[in-house]
Every structure is written in C-alpha cells, then in structure tokens.
C-alpha cells in the first residue's frame, strides 16, 4: 500500500489537478447554458435550476440568426474542405511521384510561401478584394464566395504540404507497376493514386474543415452583414464585450457549435497528432 502511494499518488494528483483545470471552463459553459437567468454570474457552481430557455432563444429569437450563422459556417467550411483537397491533391501527387526539373526548389519555395502568415497579408488581401468587388461584386469584399476564394488560396500551401507528407508514406510500387503497364500519369493519378489515398484525402479535408470553421479574422473582415456571418464572427459580435447580457445564449450557442468539431477532432486524433508533428500547429 505504501509502495503504491509512493509510486502513484503524485501521478493522480497531477492528473486530477490538470483535469480540473482543463474541464473548468467547459463545465462552466455547460451550467451557464442551462441556467435560466442567462447571466454570466454563477450563483453556485452546482446547478440548482435547469432550463432549455437559452437554447430555445437561439432558435426562436429573430435578433439572433443563429441557424443562419451555423449554415454559413457549414457551407463555407464544407466547400473549402472539399475544393481545397480536390485542388491540392494533384499538386501533392506531382510533388511526391513525378520527376521534373526544379522539383526541389519548388518544394522549398512552397515551404517559404507557406511560412508567410496569412494574417500578415491581410491588408493586401483586403485591398485586392476591394478592387475585385469593383468589377465582380459577387466575388469581392463582403461576399461569401470571395471569402471562399481567399480561404482556398490560403489552404493550398498547408494542404499540399500535409498531403505530400502523407502521400510519401504510401508505397510507390503500385503506381510504378501501373507505369510499366503503360498507364499515363493522369491514369495513374485517377485510377491508382486517388483510390489509394482516399482515407488520407478525407483526413486532410476534415482538417481543413476544422481550420476553416475556426477561422475568425478574415471572416470578420469580409462578412459585415448580420445574415452572411459565420458562427465564430456571429457569436463574437453577439456578446461583443457585453458578457453579462447575452452570456446564457452565447454559452448554449458555442456548445452546439463546438460539439461536431470536438467529435471530428477526437476521432481523427491519431492523424492530427502525426500531421502536427510534421511541423504545423493548430490555430
């Protein structure tokens, strides 16, 4: 018994302490979301009352277009997730499997470009899209398609890089065999590579989904209308410093929005960790 205490007690102490730290804000959000008063003030850390009022407010109050925000976020994130992978997969394939002049410098250039934090080019993106809006109002500043284009561009570097890393680990024998049988590069890509890499493509597109869902500042700069906002921008504007007033519905709203992301994240844990060790950190 004493030996067990000496060996394991500190482990549980550390574990419990960190678990409390980790879970405290999450617990707080849960109890705030079911607290009928809807205020930030927690009268007691153990809930005495229970109500769905805050959740109902999200869906029924016309001043909180929560469902629209959610829909916007989903439409934009799903589009980015699918399109960015479709576009970047072929580049990753070429980097990983084709032989051509300037391949090495191409990879290095990609790495360098990717290091320019998107947020630093924010003012440039803003001015460029402002100009696009002059001649193509549907793709410029203030529109979701415009934001989507910018996201796609931004996702390219990271996705090509991530996909290339994953693809390098798929054995090349199969596509070499196909090549010997006379398949063209295009055929190898569509008939051998894409089916083989399908799980990897799915993982990377889910990662893009999470990243886009979580993106804040571009969305905030681009989407001004209440009805075109994403969930992150919408909820931020909704509490907008006035924490005390809208806390209850905010807590409920952020819980609902977080659940799908947490589920995706936990189910992809393994890949995310290996993707992260490959050199990028989640935003």
């Amino acid at each position: 018994m004493m030996k067990w205490l000496r060996e394991n007690l500190w482990r549980h102490v550390v574990g419990i302490f960190m678990v409390l730290f980790a879970i405290f804000p999450l617990y707080l959000v849960v109890i705030s979301s079911i607290n009928p008063s809807g205020s930030l003030q927690v009268t007691s850390f153990i809930p005495r009352e229970f109500s769905w009022k805050n959740y109902q407010m999200l869906f029924n109050d016309p001043t909180i277009p929560y469902l629209t925000w959610m829909k916007n976020s989903l439409v934009i994130s799903v589009s980015v997730a699918l399109l960015s992978v479709v576009i970047s997969a072929s580049s990753a394939f070429a980097f990983s499997r084709l032989k051509f002049k300037g391949k090495k410098s191409g990879i290095q250039l990609l790495l360098l470009i990717q290091m320019f934090p998107a947020i630093l080019a924010l003012s440039a993106v803003y001015v460029i899209m402002e100009r696009v809006a002059v001649f193509a109002p549907h793709f410029g500043l203030g529109t979701q398609p415009g934001l989507l284009l910018v996201y796609l561009g931004g996702a390219m570097g990271v996705n090509i890089w991530l996909l290339k890393g994953f693809v390098d680990s798929i054995p090349a024998e199969l596509d070499e065999a196909a090549k010997i049988d006379g398949a063209s590069a295009m055929q190898t890509y569509w008939l051998i590579f894409v089916p083989l890499a399908a799980p990897v493509l799915a993982v990377v597109s889910l990662l893009s989904f999470i990243g886009t869902f979580n993106e804040f500042i571009l969305a905030r700069l681009f989407l001004v209308d209440m009805g075109s906002r994403t969930i992150a921008v919408g909820l931020q504007g909704f509490i907008g410093g006035q924490y005390s007033q809208n806390w209850g519905p905010f807590a409920a709203g952020s819980l609902i929005a977080s659940v799908p992301i947490v589920i995706i994240f936990l189910s992809l844990q393994k890949y995310i960790i290996s993707g992260l060790t490959a050199g990028s950190v989640k935003g």
């Binding site: 482990r11 999450l26 630093l120 003012s123 193509a136 590069a185 804040f216 909820l235 952020s254």
Partner: protein
C-alpha cells in the same frame, strides 16, 4: 474505366470544362478591364492563356497537375505577399488613399471659400432656354434677381419676373423650373454644380432652395503640375511624397494627398521615428516574452502530465480523453468563454478566488490572464507529443542507468530530458513561431488592452506585433497600410528565419532517429 480516360468522351468532357472555365474567366476579364482594374485584368489574361496552353498541349505533364493549385497560390497567397511588399514602399494611409488625378479633383473641389459677407440667394432649379441647367436666384434684401447657368449670368428686371409673398422670384421668361420628380434624379449632379456669378465667384447649391456665393481658393496650373493660391499667390508643388506642398513652407500640404512611392521611408520610420519606434519596441519585447512563456508553461505542464501518466495507472484513459478537450474545442469559442470568466464583476475566476481583480484593466493581470489562457489552450498539445516522445525513448537506456545506480531524478535530468528536448525542439520552435503570431488569442481576449489612447498611442499592454499591426492597418483612428505592410514584412523575416532554423534542426534529427 481506363477507356474513359483515353476515349472521345473524356476529350469532350475536358473540352467542355475548359471552355466553360475559360468563358467565365474571359467574362470577368472584360469587366475588370472595363472598370480599369488593369493589374487584375492582366493576371486573368495570363490565367486563361496558361489554362488552355497547359491542358491542350503536351508541353509539361507535371504542370497539368500543378496548374489549379498554382493559380490559387499565385492569386491569393503570392499576389498578396507581393502587394504587401509594394504597399510597404508607399505612403498608403489615411489622407493618401486615392490616385493622383482623383486627388487633384478633390483638392479643387474642397479648395473653395465663401465670400466675405457670406451671401446667399433663394433659388429655384430649372432649365434656361429649355436645355441649359440653370437657377433662378433672388436676393430678397437687395431686390436683385438673375438667372445663372454654368457659364453666364442673365440679370433680370423686377418686371420680367413673378415673385411670391416673400419676394422670391418664382417664374421668369425663358426659365422653366424642374418638377419634383426631376429634382430627385438630378440630385447628385446639382450638388456638384457651380453656377456663374462673376468671373471670381460662383454659386453652389445648399439644398434645392438656397445657393451660396463661393470662390475658388486654389487654381490648378496643369502645365506646372502645381496649385496656386489665388489670394496669396503661394505655389504648392508635388513634393514627391504624395502631396502638394507649399514651396516656401514645406510642412504646409494640401489635403487629400495620393498614393505615392516613398521607398524605404516606412522601414526607416520603424527605426528612426520615435513615435513609431518606441511602441514597436515595447510591443516586440512583450511579443517575445509572451511567446516564450507560452511555450515554456505549456511544455512544462504537458511534460509533467506526460510523465505522470506514462505508467498504466488506473483511469489513465479517462484522464487522457478529458485532457485533450481544450485542444479539441474550437479555439475562438474557448477564448471568448475565458473572456467571460475573467470578467471583473461577474466572472467565475474572481468568484472562485474570492477576489475582485479588474483583470483586463491592469497591465500585469491582463498579461497573466493571457498566458494562463494560452496555457490552457496549449498544454494538451505538448502532453500528447511528449507522451509520444517518451515512448520513443528506448527503455533499455533507463534500465541500464538504473543498474548503474542512477537515481530516478538523475535518470530524468541526464537521460530523459535531454533526449526529449532533442526530439521536441523543432516542435517547440514551431510553437514559438505560432504564438509569435497568435492573433486570435490577443484580439478576442483583451483586444490588446489595457491601453491609454490619450496621446494617440494605439499599442496596448498585451498587444503583440501582429495585433498591433492589425490596429495600424485597420484601426479606428488613422489607418496606415504602408507602415503596417512594412512591419508585416519584418515580422515575416523574423518568423521565417526562426522556422527555417527549426526545420534545419528537424532535418538534423531525421539522421539521428
């Protein structure tokens, strides 16, 4: 299936897709050129040519794979970077947003002054001789009546007109008043129109019933590219920095200015202008302190956890699945939640501690709060990677050391920790680079505050370089895209060199592991 990729069907499919995309791009291109957006137009031309060239010829097979990704990278990543570089050499800021020709028009429009006595007239807007825009003006005090068009004035006798009970002329020969519906349509035109009074003075409308007497203060001398003050004779010339400045008093400039290249002025300001340099240094130091302490605290707590849970103790799986939650939550949401928790009056933190600290009003507390929140966001990551790394260290090493009589503490400090640091150092560096630019955290948690904006200093106590740059570019006081771009370029150089160093380290590692 294979046949599909070789057959006529495949070719037809490709042709339709190519034609469709080309058509869309050409449409965009035409309207871009129509709106004089030449840079974007040229980019689109090259995209269309490149597209058809790549997929209709056999010039390069890899290019067929790269083309779509390449275009997106060029359009939305490379172009903004190049544009940032360009902007950093321009005086692109509040007061210098527009082009030069526009600025000249603006200066002319703004450079008017009312006559000394501030004369006004009652007016009716209409047409002279059926076609010319004109006003029927009445000076009810002096009983002076006239019709004025853009280039002439026709004085009227009292007998030529009909007046109402206020002695305002309502009708005159050859003059027809505009109907209300016509007025609404002509609103914009009329508000910028100048009606002739004398060669020096003109009448500008102030609403549809009143006109005031103004004269041009500045005259544009097109052949000299200069403005002349009509009253004083002072000459304002292009000072090469996007403004017309008084030749005798260089500080006296005409507003607005225009975008003009100032070359390295934005960069030299970073080092030489104390008003820019001092907040920048302050912010830079805090950025480094913030990034280093975030990485160190997250790593320390993550490693401690990894060590604690490195044995199959009871409940390890439960610990693990809860500990990963902060990392799985969308960070925007968690940061906002923390923001509420640090609220002074109602926040859970003060309630838990039994204090009433104004977290975001005090420099020290705000900084502590920022680091605590970042620790919460970051420790699960280091817990996960440290656990992985601990498992990668061969257990023989520890066993051998134990047999040689090393204490557990010695084993940790002499073997485990050095090995861990070696494996994890690229990740620590990457994490440093990430936190260096952790905009969301600062922006959403403290907004950079606390700050005192009394003397125009917009740098707050928790502002890091990136959030400070954002304020310079998009802030509510003045916006200086040129300076913000210059700072962006400097940050990029810093972060890129740190990351490259990290990557080189990880390359070295690959040969070890």
């Amino acid at each position: 299936m294979v046949a599909f990729f070789r057959g006529k069907l495949a070719f037809a499919f490709k042709a339709v897709l190519l034609a469709g995309i080309s058509a869309l791009l050409v449409l965009l291109l035409i309207s871009a050129l129509g709106q004089k957006q030449y840079a974007i137009g040229i980019f689109l031309i090259l995209v269309v040519i490149g597209l058809n060239f790549t997929y209709l010829t056999k010039v390069s097979i890899p290019l067929k794979f790269f083309y779509p990704g390449l275009i997106f990278l060029l359009g939305f990543v490379v172009a903004p970077i190049v544009f940032t570089l360009t902007m950093s050499t321009y005086n692109y800021k509040t007061g210098n947003y527009i082009g030069k020709t526009e600025a000249i028009t603006q200066i002319q429009k703004l450079a008017i002054e009312p006559d000394a006595s501030g004369s006004t007239f009652d007016i009716i807007v209409g047409k002279y001789n059926g076609t010319e825009s004109a006003i029927l003006a009445s000076d009810t005090v002096k009983k002076q009546y006239f019709i004025s068009t853009y280039d002439k004035r026709i004085d009227l006798n009292v007998t030529d007109i009909k007046v109402n009970e206020y002695q305002v002329a309502t009708e005159a020969s050859n003059f027809k008043a505009l109907a209300d519906a016509e007025l609404a349509g002509a609103d914009k035109l009329l508000s910028t129109s100048r009606f002739f009074y004398t060669s020096e003075f003109f009448i500008a409308l102030e609403g549809f019933d009143v006109g005031a007497l103004y004269r041009q203060k500045l005259n544009f001398l097109a052949n000299q590219d200069a403005f002349q003050n009509i009253a004083t004779g002072a000459i304002y010339k292009d000072n090469g920095k996007g403004n017309y400045a008084n030749v005798d008093v260089p500080g006296e400039i005409l507003e607005p200015g225009w975008r003009a290249p100032v070359w390295f002025e934005n960069y030299s300001k970073l080092f030489l202008d104390p008003k820019v340099r001092e907040p920048l240094i302050r912010v830079f130091i805090w950025t480094v302190v913030f990034a280093v302490s975030s990485v160190l605290t997250s790593f320390a707590f993550g490693l401690l956890l990894a060590l604690a849970l490195n044995k199959p103790i009871r409940g390890r799986r439960i610990y693990r699945s809860i500990l990963i939650l902060p990392y799985a939550m969308p960070s925007v949401m968690s940061i906002l939640i923390w923001g509420g928790m640090f609220n002074t009056e109602f926040g859970a933190i003060n309630q838990l501690l039994g204090t009433d600290i104004a977290w975001f009003q005090s420099v020290t507390f705000a900084r502590v709060a920022v680091i605590v929140v970042n620790l919460w966001l970051g420790f699960p990551y280091f817990y996960l990677v440290s656990s992985g790394a601990l498992q990668a260290i061969p257990s023989e090493l520890n066993e051998a050391a134990a047999i040689d009589g090393a204490s557990p503490r010695q084993i940790f400090s002499k073997i485990t920790l050095p090995l861990l640091l070696r494996i994890l150092s690229p990740l620590l560096i990457a994490s440093f680079a990430f936190n260096f630019n952790n905009f969301n955290l600062i922006y959403l948690l403290t907004g950079g505050g606390p700050k005192s904006t009394l003397d125009g200093d917009i740098a707050g106590a928790t502002d890091i370089l990136i959030s400070y740059t954002y304020q310079i570019a998009f802030g509510s006081f003045t916006q200086d895209l040129g300076l913000a771009s210059a700072i962006s370029v400097v940050i990029f150089l810093l972060v890129a060199s740190i990351s490259l160093y990290g990557i080189r380290k990880s390359k070295v590692l690959e040969s070890f592991v």
